[in-house]
Symmetry: C2
Subunit: 274 residues, 2 copies
C-alpha cells in the first residue's frame, strides 16, 4: 500500500512519448506611409513580422517567429519571451489563436504549436528595433476571399512577395479552420496559422477589443478609425465610428498641429472604473 509521495517518486514520465511544444507568434503592427501631399493624412497598412529561415528545413523560406516551451514557464510566458527576443518589445497583450497539431506539420518530428497574436504599436517598435537585420522583416498583409470562395493571403516586403491560397474548412465557435492549397513559400503550416490569426484579429477588432494597442497612448479618432478599417478591410462613416467609440475614449486638451487642415483633438483610452 503506497501513499502519494511514494507513488510520485516511482512515477516515470519517460515511459511515454512526448511532443515538442512551441509558441509561434503572429506579430501585427500598423504602419503609416507618407502620402507626399502635405495636406493629406498618411495611409496605413497592416504588417506582419516574418523571419527568413537560415537553416533546414524550409531554408530560405519565410516563417513566423517562435520557439520551444521551456520547463518552468507557461505557454503565454514563452510567447512573450519569444516576442521580446525578436523585437525587443513587450506587447500590451497577446491572444491565443489555438493549437496546431497536425501530424507531419513539421518535418523535424512531432512538434505542436500554440499560436499567439501579438499587437505592437509602430511608435514602440521603430524606436527599439532597427531594420538592419535582413532576416527579420515586416510584410504588408492582404487577406480576403476571392470570387471562387478561396482565401488569398498576400504578403509583401519590397520586391519580395509571398502569396498563399487557403480554403475554408469550417467556422465553429468563432474560430475559422483553413486548409492550405498553396503555401506560397511560407514555411511549415504557417500560412494556415496566419489565416487563422487574421480571422481572430478581425473578430476581436469588431468590438474594439484590441485596436488601441496598435497606437501610442494619445491618438486622434481618425487614427483609431484607420486602425480598425485597416485590420478589418472595411470602411465606416466617421460620424458612426465616433458615436460607437465615444464610450471607450477620454479626450485630452491636446491637438495635432501643422497638418495642413483642421487640427484634431487627441484622445486616450478610457480607464475602466469599477
Amino acid at each position: 500500500m503506497s501513499d502519494e509521495k511514494t507513488f510520485l517518486s516511482n512515477y516515470n514520465m519517460n515511459d511515454y512519448e512526448r511532443p515538442s511544444v512551441t509558441a509561434d507568434i503572429i506579430a501585427f503592427m500598423i504602419r503609416s506611409q507618407e502620402s507626399g501631399n502635405y495636406r493629406r493624412n498618411s495611409k496605413t497598412s497592416l504588417s506582419l513580422l516574418l523571419i527568413k529561415r537560415g537553416g533546414h528545413p524550409f531554408k530560405g523560406c519565410w516563417a513566423l517567429p517562435g520557439g520551444f516551451l521551456n520547463p518552468g514557464e507557461t505557454i503565454e510566458q514563452c510567447a512573450l519571451r519569444e516576442i521580446e527576443e525578436e523585437t525587443s518589445v513587450k506587447p500590451a497583450s497577446i491572444m491565443s489563436v489555438g493549437m496546431f497539431s497536425d501530424p507531419g506539420r513539421d518535418p523535424r518530428g512531432w512538434i505542436i504549436s500554440n499560436a499567439f497574436v501579438s499587437i505592437l504599436s509602430e511608435s514602440t517598435v521603430t524606436q527599439q528595433y532597427g531594420d538592419d537585420a535582413a532576416d527579420a522583416q515586416w510584410f504588408d498583409v492582404s487577406f480576403d476571399k476571392d470570387k471562387s470562395g478561396d482565401y488569398r493571403l498576400d504578403l509583401s516586403y519590397g520586391d519580395t512577395k509571398l502569396s498563399a491560397v487557403l480554403s475554408e474548412e469550417k467556422t465553429e465557435f468563432g474560430r475559422t479552420y483553413f486548409n492550405i492549397k498553396d503555401s506560397g513559400q511560407l514555411a511549415f503550416d504557417h500560412a494556415k496559422i496566419i489565416a487563422t490569426a487574421l480571422t481572430s484579429l478581425r473578430n476581436e477588432a469588431k468590438d474594439f477589443e484590441n485596436i488601441f494597442d496598435f497606437l501610442p497612448e494619445k491618438f486622434t479618432l481618425t487614427q483609431l478609425q484607420n486602425v480598425q478599417e485597416t485590420i478589418m478591410n472595411i470602411s465606416v462613416l466617421p460620424a458612426n465610428f465616433r458615436r460607437k467609440i465615444s464610450g471607450l475614449v477620454t479626450e485630452t486638451d491636446e491637438y495635432t498641429k501643422g497638418a495642413g487642415h483642421r487640427p484634431a483633438k487627441l484622445y486616450m483610452r478610457k480607464k475602466l472604473t469599477d
Copy 2:
C-alpha cells in the same frame, strides 16, 4: 554543405526536454427532471461529467476526463477519442478552451493540457451509457459571481457536493482567466479549467452557436429556450426568444402530445444553404 535530407536525418529531437501533453474534456449535458405535476414541463439543469480518481495523485478526488496526446493524432482527435472512450458517444462538436500550462499544475511533472468543451445530448448519452460506473458521474453545475466578486462553482451529485471558489484575474479577447482560491476537492487545476470552460460556453450560447447540440434532432422551441436559459442562467421572454431564433430553425409537421396542455410544434435546426 548539407542538404535538407541530411539535416533531418541528423536532427535529434531528444536534445530538448519536452512536456507531456494532454487533452482534458469538459463534457456538458442538459438533463431534465420530472416535476411530479403531470401538467408541468420538466425542469432542466446543466450537468458535467467527472471521474473519481482511483490512483495517486489526488486519489479519491474528482477530475475531468482526459488523456495523453498520442503520436499521429491532432489534439482535437485526442479530445474526441477521450470523450468516446469515456461516454461511448461521439459529440457533434468540441470547442477549445485554451492551454493550461502553469508549472506545478500537475505533481507528476511537466504536463500541459488543452481543454475542450464537448456538448452531449441527453437522448444520446442515456441510451449508450449506463450509470453503473461509480467512478464516472454527472454532476449538476452552478456557477456564478457572489456578492464579494468571487465566483462560486458548485457541483453536486446525490450527497456528493464539491464547492470551489475562484477569483477573476482578467478578461481579454473574450476569454476570462481565473485563479483558484479554493479547489473544493477537485483534482489538479480542474476548478480553473471548468470555470474557464463555462465562461466560454456561455459566451457562445449568447448567439445560439452551440445550444442545438444539447437536444435531439427534433425539439420544441420551449425546450430550446430552456437550454439557453439553463446554460446562461438567465430568463428571457418567450416571444422575444422565438423572434430571435426563428431564422435558425425549420418547423416540422409533428407535435408533442399527452402533455396536459397545448401541444407544441417540433422544430429542426435549419440547414445552412450557401
